[in-house]
Amino acid sequence: MTTAPMAEPAPGFTLDVSGTRPVPFSRLVNVELRKMADTRAGRWLLISIAAVTALVLVIQLSVVLSQGLFVELRDFTVAMNTPMGVLLPVLGVMSVSSEWGQRTAMVTFTLEPSRLKLVLAKFAATMLVAVAAVVVGMALSVVLNLVYGSLSGHHVIWGFGTPDVFYVLLLHIFGMASGFAFGMLFLNTAAGIVVYFVYSFVLPGLFQLGAALMGWFADLQPWIDFGAAQNPLIDGNLTGTQWAHLAVSGLIWLVLPLAVGAWRVLRAEVK
């Protein structure tokens, strides 16, 4: 049925791209940060993380004051870990999965065809948010510790060194990165969040049950239970063995999902 022969390429048929620079990585990170806050869902999630953390700390303060308990900065940071530990991974899941749910990945990947570069930019953006969240959370804890001191009349006790700040940071970077990994694995917000919560709240219980019931499993459990391995980060002061537990279990439950998830995003047909 072909009627007209194909014409030979006309002059000007080639595209001169020599004057165009690739999109710099820093610009992609900036855009990804913007995308986390420029929708109502994203903005409110960020606000909720700060608001819920503040609320939990204020409740803690009022309980402590009314019961006449004696606390220090560490007690506030432990309280802060709970809401942030739940909400930051949700943000991590959504930063990836919303691109699929809202199908914006089609636009994102046409403006930057290197998917690896985009995945790394997204990951960097979520890490920056995690760091910012920890900074805000620590600042809130410090403020409330001061308020506690002035209202209770007790001496204000800090007792929180640089390593402790580093441990808290590590804890939330792990949480955010896990959420990010599950977002990539499922490319679906609901599935990513549900599976993340099963993984982070149900799995540790099962591991402990298994360890209690089976002797051989009790020896294995510390090496494969990422949740339990992170607990020393909250208390501070990790031993060499605890670091080893963290590294091995993290390899299984964080690095592996990240790798498989990234592989999926790099390969997935973007619909």
Partner: protein
């Protein structure tokens, strides 16, 4: 500018795109026509690297899409106007694009003005946009980086008649300035007016290509609509010459070219009030060429 060579995409046993070859020249509009599911979208997705090809290749200006640095500055793409975050405002969608490409925010205002989205509309969330507004936003997004190539999938879908006319003017002018345009449609009339070259695809294969004239010539059948003051006398004259005549509306439909009808009228001194080629020739051709790939076999009749 766009060169598609031996492109094939299979999903398991299903061949979505089957050995497709075509070229889009700078300064022209190429219409990519076919029924839904014919393989247009898959071909365009492969072009911009969203879907890997099973065989064959596509180059844009001699490059694979993934090798074009900051591709938004060279190739404007609109694959699905609804593929935007429903919670972002129209302005924000363009701002994210402009920031990625490294363009000033003033470019966003220029594009909003170009596609006639006013300040109030641009601040509304895409969720509240009509399909027509989403298409305008998508066209604005494709044009953001001042690309020299445009790849648009069903851009007229959801536009009102005034919008379709606006888009035609925009693309025509874009091509006249040397740009390359590839646009797809499942509706012939949307494309035939502006396309310099048409590529008809059905069931993943190219079934015909060329400009409107050569496609019609290839179709071989021509018909004429004619109205005379005395239709009966004209009908008798035409039948004497051996042309098939049937009544159509106020006039007649004759299975020959307008010039033959004019001759008969002149010979018999009959006054004509209307004489024109039956325009549905191309549409018939389009439907017949692609009918075996339509999802619904509506009027196939008994098998021969």
């Amino acid at each position: 500018m766009i060169k598609v060579e031996g492109l094939t995409k299979t999903y398991g046993g299903f061949t979505a795109v089957d050995d497709v070859d075509f070229v889009c020249q700078p300064g022209t509009v190429t219409g990519f026509l076919g029924p839904n599911g014919a393989g247009k979208t898959t071909t365009m997705r492969i072009m911009v690297g969203l879907t890997p090809a099973s065989r064959g290749r596509v180059t844009i200006g001699g490059h694979h899409y993934k090798d074009i640095p900051n591709p938004g500055r060279h190739v404007g793409v609109l694959l699905d106007a609804s593929a935007q975050h429903a919670g972002r405002t129209g302005r924000e969608v363009l701002t994210v694009g402009a920031r990625t490409m490294g363009l000033p925010d003033s470019r966003v205002d220029e594009m909003l003005e170009l596609v006639s989205l006013d300040a109030k509309e641009s601040k509304r969330r895409v969720r509240n946009y009509s399909l027509g507004m989403r298409q305008r936003l998508g066209i604005a997004h494709a044009l953001l980086g001042e690309p020299s190539v445009l790849i648009l999938d069903e851009p007229a879908n959801g536009l009102d008649p005034a919008g379709i006319r606006w888009m035609r003017g925009l693309l025509k002018e874009y091509a006249e300035r040397g740009g390359t345009v590839l646009l797809s449609s499942h509706l012939l009339h949307e494309v035939e007016i502006i396309a310099d070259e048409m590529i008809l695809i059905g069931r993943g294969r190219i079934v015909a290509r060329g400009d409107k004239k050569s496609l019609l010539a290839g179709a071989g059948t021509t018909a004429t609509f004619v109205t005379a003051l005395d239709n009966e006398a004209l009908a008798a004259g035409l039948k004497d010459k051996g042309f098939a005549v049937s009544s159509a509306g106020e006039g007649l439909r004759v299975e020959t070219e307008p010039v033959e009808v004019g001759r008969v009228a002149a010979d018999r001194s009959l006054v004509l009030t209307d004489l024109r080629a039956a325009e549905e020739g191309l549409e018939d051709l389009f439907l017949s060429l692609t009918s075996d790939s339509q999802r619904d076999h509506l009027t196939e009749g008994p098998a021969a």
